[in-house]
Amino acid sequence: MSDRIVLDNVSRFYGEVLGVNRVTLSVPPGITSLVGPNGSGKTTLMNLITGLVRPTRGEIQVLGISPADPEKLFRVCGYATQFDSFPRGMTGFQFISSYLRLSGMPYEDCQRTTAFAIGRVNLGDAAHRKIAGYSKGMRQRIKLAQAIAHDPRVLVLDEPLNGLDPLVRAETIALFREFAAEGRHVIVSSHILHEVDTISDQVILLSNGYVVAEGQIRGVREEMSEHPMQVIIRCTRANVLASRVFEQDHVVEVRLHADGGGLLVKTRDADRFYRALNHLALDGVGIESVAPADDNVNSLYEYLIGGEESTR
């Protein structure tokens, strides 16, 4: 059996709208990031790999298995989609265990495996609560638990770090690394270059449905440091956090949200900013969510891939 995910000249159109076009890739094990602005084709590519959509042209093999054969594919593959909706009325535990039961796992094993998967994403306390009452971060984690529950060799994760607070984000990245270290595939999508640059073994850059670059992208960090990055933080005591954040020399601007429940930070060194934020989070400020502001990332992204696009 092949240990690669292979896409051979794959195109997908939605009517006349392009999803992805002429994508040819051979993805080795490790952490692979799909990066691109909104609408660049990241989700389409992930849906193609997992068989949720079919290619208009071309062929896909995941470790030698066709995505058109879900019976085989989802024994080796787990997918956390970006859709933020769940079957109604289920607790986190029921959600994972019913998924495992459908995979054919015996009841006793299923209970044990569910508890283990939920424990891995640190959601044990909320396991028996209804998912409808979960926060955004908890919903992200329960999706991740579902994707890893059956111990897949290929993990496909669509924007998995969205809505996670800094501590959970660090734990989640550690989980990806653990999977990758065992020789598995972890495919992560993001529109945040900085985020994936720090965790990826390789990066695939997408733009308007085309793969514009792939491989290790050195120097992205340097490029990024020249372009301030905007981060939106929702938290308690936003004014206290604002004053502390502004003490950092790489922070160029801080703006409080009108409702006093958050702030927008502009920094020239995202790495240092996130490290500092972890300390501040431990220092009595309740951070609910951290998310980069899209527009700025998109403009940075366009800057980075501009040369590639112009050569196409």
């Binding site: 939605y14 949720l52 959509v53 859709f83 009325g89």
Partner: protein, 354 residues
């Protein structure tokens, strides 16, 4: 592999069952199932109330059945009153050239309406209390023209189109598609879940309708009926109800998979099933209602209000025998389920356009 598919079908049924029975979207399915029960309960209570009134009237104006039946047309008011006494209700009205008198008598069971014109008995209208054969015809009419064609039809629209389409609207269908389950197995599991739910809901309704209709009969009347064709009728009606869910369920499962807006195909099927009586005999067989009517134990009386021109268009097709009706219905169901399973195999998740 077959064992695994069966186990997966069982699990899908369990997961779907709660959604199907307890979803808010399904409330109107219960209302549709309950409506005929309420109609028949109302009919029974009305009959009980009428009987009490008749018995009270007969006690106040006692007259025997034989005496009332002995009255013949042509008698004068005085002659009638001499034989049967004062009526319990009397209406008089006068025109320039004629006078009309309506006298009502009861023997406790039936009501006799004597219509006099110019003091002569012109017409006798006897309104007997409801009997089981009479109510069987009423039930057959309601069952075939309301329950099968509308209640079960729309109930199946609500339950079966939601099995896939509802989850697409909720954006939660992909969780099934992320499991190692054949899409065809998923479609069959969902269909069986919907079938179990609709069979339970509508067969319960059928049974309650029959029970509601029998409330106003005496124990001995019911025992006599059950000792005759009664249990056979009950079993047949329950079977036809289940068969309707089987047939319509497959159609609307396929509609939920094939169409973004299943209301349009549902309306088309409704028209097709509705015009079944006008179709040539060969086309009649490409419908669910034809087989259901063939299986019904009592033939519904023709609609007396149908215009003569429409009656000319009605084509008669000999009902097929029960085994052929069941086979025909199964054939229609299997063909439609095969189409649905084929569509399920190629199902894509594209919520933004759904």
């Amino acid at each position: 592999m077959t064992q695994q598919w069966l186990s997966q079908i069982g699990l899908v049924i369990r997961l779907e069952m709660r959604k199907t029975f307890f979803s808010r979207r399904g409330i109107w399915v219960y209302l549709l199932a309950l409506a005929p029960v309420l109609i028949f309960l109302g009919h029974s209570f009305s009959e009980i109330s009428n009987r009490k009134v008749r018995q009270a009237m007969n006690a106040a104006h006692p007259v025997s059945t034989e005496t009332l039946r002995a009255i013949e047309r042509g008698a004068t008011i005085e002659e009638v009153m001499e034989k049967v006494g004062e009526p319990f209700a009397k209406v008089e009205f006068h025109r320039p050239r004629a006078s009309f008198d309506i006298y009502q008598y009861t023997d406790g069971d039936s009501v006799y309406v004597f219509a006099f014109q110019n003091n002569r008995l012109e017409n006798i209208d006897r309104r007997d209390r409801d009997t089981i054969p009479k109510d069987s015809l009423i039930f057959a009419g309601v069952f075939q023209f309301f329950f099968l064609r509308l209640a079960i039809f729309f109930g199946c629209v609500g339950v079966f189109t939601n099995l896939f389409r509802g989850e697409m609207l909720d954006k939660s269908l992909h969780f099934y598609l992320l499991t190692p389950i054949r899409r065809e197995v998923l479609a069959i599991g969902k269909y069986l879940a919907g079938l179990i739910a609709t069979v339970v809901i509508f067969c319960t309704s059928t049974f309650l309708q029959l029970a509601a209709l029998s409330v106003h009969f005496t124990g001995s009347e019911i025992s006599e009926y059950l000792a005759g064709p009664g249990w056979g009728h009950v079993a047949s009606y329950l079977g036809v109800t289940a068969a309707a869910c089987l047939g319509y369920g497959s159609i609307f499962l396929a509609a939920g998979l094939l169409f973004k807006n299943p209301i349009i195909p549902a309306a088309s099927v409704l028209v097709w099933e509705g015009m079944n009586i006008f179709l040539p005999a060969a086309l009649k067989k490409v419908s669910v209602i034809f087989y259901l009517q063939s299986l019904s134990p009592v033939v519904a009386p023709p609609d007396a209000s149908m215009p003569a021109l429409e009656k000319l268009l009605v084509t008669a097709a000999e009902p097929v025998s029960a085994p052929w009706a069941i086979l025909g219905l199964l054939a229609v169901t299997i063909v439609i389920l095969a189409v649905a399973a084929r569509k399920a195999r190629k199902l894509e998740i594209n919520y933004s356009t759904d």
